[in-house]
Amino acid sequence: MNTESTWRYTFLATLYSLMAIFIIGQLVRIQTNPEQVEHFLGQAKIYEADLRPIQPARGLLYDRWGRLLAGNITVYEVGVELAQVRNPHSIALTLNVVLGLDYAQVLDAASQEVSPEAVYVVLADYVSQEKIELLERYSTELENSTSRKKGEEPPSLQGLIYKPHLQRSYPEKRLASNVLGFVNREGLGYYGVEAKFNELIAGKTMEVWMPRDPNLALELPEIPVGASIILTIDRAIQAEIEAILDAAVEANGADSGTIVVANPQTGEILAMATTPRLDLNEYWQYAEVFKGSTPFNRAISQAYEPGSVYKVLTMAAALDAGAVTPETIFLDVGVIEVGGIYIYNWNSAAWGPQDMQGCLQHSLNVCLAWVATQLGTKNFYDYMRAFGIGRLTGVDLSGEVTGRLKIPGDTDWYEADLGTNSFGQGVAVTPLQMVMAVSAIANEGKLVAPRIVRSFIDKGNQYDTETRIVGMPIKPETARTLSEILARSLEEEASTALVEGYRVAGKTGTAEIPTPYGYSLSATNASFVGWGPMDDPRFLVYIWLEKPTSSPWGSVVAAPVFHDIVERLVVLMDIPPDDVRREILASH
């Protein structure tokens, strides 16, 4: 090895050593300088992982047979990744045409310089799949287009990002809308089941630190979806009931209508229809549909004076307490004084001697007021409370109100209230409270809590709800006796509520409407409550038509609706006529 070569090798070795020392020195300097350490750790943290909020899929709502009533669909958030934008003009123009966004606003947003504060900008959300497909097609066409002018940025949608997520969807639109409620874009449930079980259905939103290191990919947590609910509602019955209700409201020129169909033995609500109803997929129309103080679900949120359907409860209490018997004769002279006020019959006539069936059949206010006085004030109100009047039914729906039952001791209770309450005036109830109370008469005296949830499906398990008996306001014999009286009343009256082949019990109701200036003389609330088949009640129907104009009487406007409903119910619920049923039972 000559001297020149040695010198060169020495020089190169020194140079590389110095470089190595410099690099090592830099490494040491960076790693020992607290400021630098913090800076680089911060930098590393930014690229280490993404903090991603994960909203689990909202649980589904089904009808009692597993048919979907509320599901989820995919929609997209549209935004721009500023660093990748090549032609903001193309993006603004396309989004203006496809999504109807403001051209100038999009152009401004997409033209921003990338900065730590501006990396990604959201331009639109809840964009449908069809619109995204259209945007993707445009994007491909623009990328493939060859017509470019020199010096001009070629048209491109590069930088446009579509992020999919779920949105609530209601396949049946308006059907059972008053029961389901709706979910807004923030994922919050309003009204009905959606509000009542919002936390359960929505699941728990979690923010997940998602590492970019593929070696840590397995560490991601599993986020459970929200619980699903099977309702007691039968979609077919609900659809029929809504159609019948709409027809009845229109035919009778009523302001609104409400129908509840329940199984009196289990408390399951098979259908609950009210007017108006909202297309839940367009919930933002809420203010247009529910004008003023119109409640979302009248069946639970609007208390009203029910009128003569309430006489069923008064008579049940009196029979149960032994204050009267079915054979008790009351001499109706057309007027009775209770607590200083005079009570008259609906036609202001005197009906002469009447037994208890006659009192109910002819819906005599005077007789029922007398029955209440025979029962006594304390007994009367004790029974009414036992029937659940003036209390929440506890149904699994959001927005239930208690109604109002004034009782002795209240500052606004007067002795005269006993008389008026006996025939359903001066007392405010919701249709569902009436359903619950009257169910006790159809159900051998057992008061069953109404329920709208049949099962919960959570974490892979299905939990079924049970029938809840919450009281026994009257004895089974009383319930049977009163049911028989009411069935005979309809038959002897040849009521339009009767259904050939099926024995049913029921009672009409016509109530005057209280106003700030006393009771209205021109408008009424027409109601009907009925159940059947008599020997094995499978359905109880409550009808309320508000301010019908065709006729003020419940017997004229509400009773035929009951008939129409039962004609459909027996088909949809596979209930054979009484004689066929007896024949089948006898042969087995």
């Binding site: 047979w65 049946e172 560490e219 499906i457 892979g460 089948i584 087995h588």
Partner: protein
């Protein structure tokens, strides 16, 4: 003793043997380090590839879940009461009236029961948290785990 002397003599007469030995030793070290580095690279590359595949699969699962939700809702729309009724009427069906029904006793017939919509039991899944460390740790982690305790033990034992 004679043998050692011969060996010393041989080395002193041919000094290049010493250099050769050093070079061979150095090359052996290089080959060993390269071997370890190669294994390490192979293992980490495979782990990274699998990790990336897992991330991609997770994205695919999310996409499939969205598609599934979409299809369920689309099916429900097609089967909805409002859609089915006109279709049935178009096909010539009419709502049955109660008087048109003939009830027949069918022995053994079971009426529709409460639907069971709970998902079937999921297969047993091994979640990441329960995986033994051996399946997750890198070669360096393994060395650290194996060597550091040994060194600390040795330090504790020696006075």
């Amino acid at each position: 003793m004679e043998r050692v002397r011969n060996l010393t003599q041989a080395y002193s007469q041919t000094p290049w043997r010493k250099q050769l030995k050093l070079i061979v030793l150095f090359l052996l070290c290089v080959v060993f380090i390269a071997l370890i580095a190669g294994i390490y690279l192979d293992v980490t590359a495979r782990a990274a590839t699998i990790g990336r595949e897992i991330l991609i699969m997770r994205t695919e699962i999310e996409a499939l879940e969205l598609t599934n939700a979409d299809l369920t809702s689309q099916l429900a729309v097609l089967n909805s009461a409002t859609a089915m009724r006109p279709r049935a009427l178009d096909l010539g069906f009419v709502p049955v009236e109660k008087d048109e029904i003939m009830y027949v006793v069918v022995l053994g017939y079971v009426p529709p029961q409460k639907p069971d919509l709970a998902p079937p039991p999921a297969p047993t899944r091994v979640i990441a948290a329960s995986l033994p460390a051996d399946y997750k740790q890198s070669l360096i982690d393994w060395f650290r785990e194996q060597i550091i305790p040994t060194i600390s033990d040795a330090l504790e034992v020696s006075p």
